[in-house]
Symmetry: C2
């Protein structure tokens, strides 16, 4: 057999990624169990585990006390080997969550924001939210391997926000660059609806589905698409913007709910839709009319996505997912009239956390690519970022 | 280095596929050139070429006469090692084309059909078209390695036509099974718009684009999607059916063109749209009005697809692609009003052949999967089907 050089190291990277993905978020496993679950040969599995152990990605677990005889060695992913931060920067809020390499949330925090706030104020609020979150988790900024940010608007491939309808200061803004100055590690920026879609696929109601349409419905309306198991960005990172289709009528958000006649004068505008949804739940006819008009529009954009993509599941997420009991039945009946094949239709259980959790899952995907992809430079060890972080390489 | 067993043979299959894809449709190449183009090491390339040569997939090319010294050996893909047939079964026509393993068309034929013809008549016409095509190419049915069929309607994963709006006999029909009795080789059935989209990506104006929206526009209207370089079928094989969205108004086909006031009484219905398009090209105001109404509708469904998917290119294909000069300018201006990022917008150059060519490309993809995919049983030799065809395994 002639030597295969680069091809073999490529294969080894792939095998390492397979093992990492199998161990992450799971119980400790023996070599035999790992070989079975990964489909790798046992010698390949052993080779990969030895390499990953030497580098600190994986560790042996002590046998359970009271075990008789000599038990098979078991290995687990070192989730606490590094930490990630997810940020959700919306028009009205900033959320931060701190997670380990499994994606488990260690600490989280939320601050209100104002859509018209000047850029400096918003950046300062982001910095404060991040600092609070780190303090809650007992960590420092130097412990972060990556920060992933979900934000409203059209986000270009380099982390530049091209435009945002809801944050005026977010226009042709190098947000990735600005946050890269704030954090001494990799910073990733992506559209918030897309990250929320990712979270649903990784840990929500769409878990393991290959084709998902995520409806990000609340004060604003958007969609995120998972196609063939991957976040779909499109050629110019502008995918998922069905909100712009005039016939769908999504552009002005839930105006039918906001402007319903039953909304009392003086109610803060941001509470109007919630008021109408609650009244509809109680059977108020005016509120139910408003919900019918709103779901008519919601159904047009959703039907377009379902007819084009034929997803396994449509997830109603975002702020209004709390009112899924009111919204899903009329949405379902409208879709059933039009769609050739009706997908599963479910409410998100991640609620307002969907974006920040998706940001964490996105950061994990990025690290997997960085360390284990076939074209990654090498199986780099998870050096402690206090001395030498994987970055800085803000994108 | 411990032995790697199954992993290595998987790697070898992948390498073989890489080499085949590099050689197919290209000039003969030396080992060094192949290694460079595939990114494989030279020893791996040699190993793969030796194996493929032994099996008959690849052959050495004699050095050009008059070459001085000892030239490096050159290898080429044996395109004539096997043959494929593509069939396009529409409501009004049946097309057949015969191709080699490069996808080069050797012979083709076309027969008219009638939408309401009984099933037996349609099957007989298919058999006659195939026989004529084989005779034109100097081959027999036993020379075929695979037959791929594009047809109108919703095609399930097993080659069953679930429904078709334009061929009444095509309803819950095991077309794959029926054609499997006709041909002693693999038979694949897929939606015609999807296959046309594939042809555009493999050999048409969308060549090498990763994300493509194909508009299959003529007497019927449909779309085919290529996402991340692959045909998108959806979870239940129902993707691309934006034609069903009421707001797009595609369902009744080009009624605005068919029913324009300038269409003379007595013109056969199938020629009406063409008459209107020709009159619009000559500047007739009534015809231009009809074109405007038609492109308004065309733009709604196209905008939905562009906003959701952000494709690199939108291809106007199908029968009306001949009138792209009339249709594209109004379509472009309507899309520009709505789309966040305007994709390239081009007319197909494959014309009425798009489906049959896509069927051939689809058959080639299938054979690649069959022989070279990582989970294929082995690098099976291209045995002559006269003695032992790769099938029969109709799906």
């Amino acid at each position: 057999m002639p030597p295969m050089g680069g091809d073999l190291s490529r294969l080894r990277q792939l095998n390492a990624l397979t093992v990492i993905k199998t161990l992450r978020g799971a119980e400790a496993a023996t070599l035999s169990a790992l070989a079975e679950r990964t489909g790798l040969s046992r010698p390949s599995t052993k080779e990969v585990i030895d390499e990953l152990s030497a580098m600190g990605w994986v560790e042996e677990v002590p046998p359970a006390s009271g075990t008789m005889g000599r038990p098979a060695r078991r290995y687990r992913f070192r989730a606490d080997g590094g930490h990630l931060m997810g940020l959700d920067i919306g028009a009205y809020h900033i959320r931060a969550a701190l997670a380990d390499l499994d994606g488990g949330v260690i600490a989280e925090t939320r601050r209100p924001a104002h859509p018209g706030a000047p850029l400096e104020d918003r950046l300062a609020a982001i910095e404060q939210a991040a600092a609070t979150c780190l303090a809650l988790g007992g960590l420092t900024i130097a412990d972060l391997w990556a920060v992933a940010v979900g934000t409203t608007g059209l986000v270009g491939p380099e982390g530049r926000v091209i435009m945002s309808a809801s944050i005026p200061a977010w226009r042709d803004l190098d947000l990735g660059g600005l946050l890269g100055e704030m954090f001494p590690c990799r910073v990733l920026v992506e559209n918030d609806s897309r990250l929320a879609a990712l979270a649903e696929t990784r840990r929500g109601v769409a878990r393991d589905a290959r084709d998902v349409v995520f409806l990000h419905i609340g004060r604003r309306m958007g969609t995120g698409l998972i196609i063939d198991g991957r976040l779909h960005r499109g050629f110019g990172a502008a995918a998922g913007e069905i909100v712009m289709l005039p016939e769908a009528g999504w552009r002005d958000g839930p105006v039918d709910l906001n402007d319903a006649a039953i909304v009392p004068d003086g109610l803060p505008p941001e509470d109007a839709a919630g008021f109408t949804l609650a009244a509809a739940r109680d059977g108020d006819p005016t509120a139910l009319d408003a919900v019918a008009r709103f779901t008519d529009k919601l159904a047009v954009g959703t039907a377009a996505a379902v007819l084009l993509l034929d997803p396994e599941i449509v997830v109603l997420g975002g702020g209004f997912s709390r009112s899924a009991d009111v919204l899903l039945p009329p949405l379902r009946s409208r879709l059933e009239r039009v769609c050739l094949r009706m997908p599963k239709l479910s409410a998100s259980t991640l609620g307002d956390e969907c974006v920040v959790l998706g940001a964490i899952d996105y950061a994990i995907e990025h690290l997997d690519q960085l360390f284990f992809a076939p074209d990654a430079p090498a199986l780099r060890p998870p050096v402690r970022p206090a001395t030498s972080p994987p970055g800085p390489d803000p994108t």
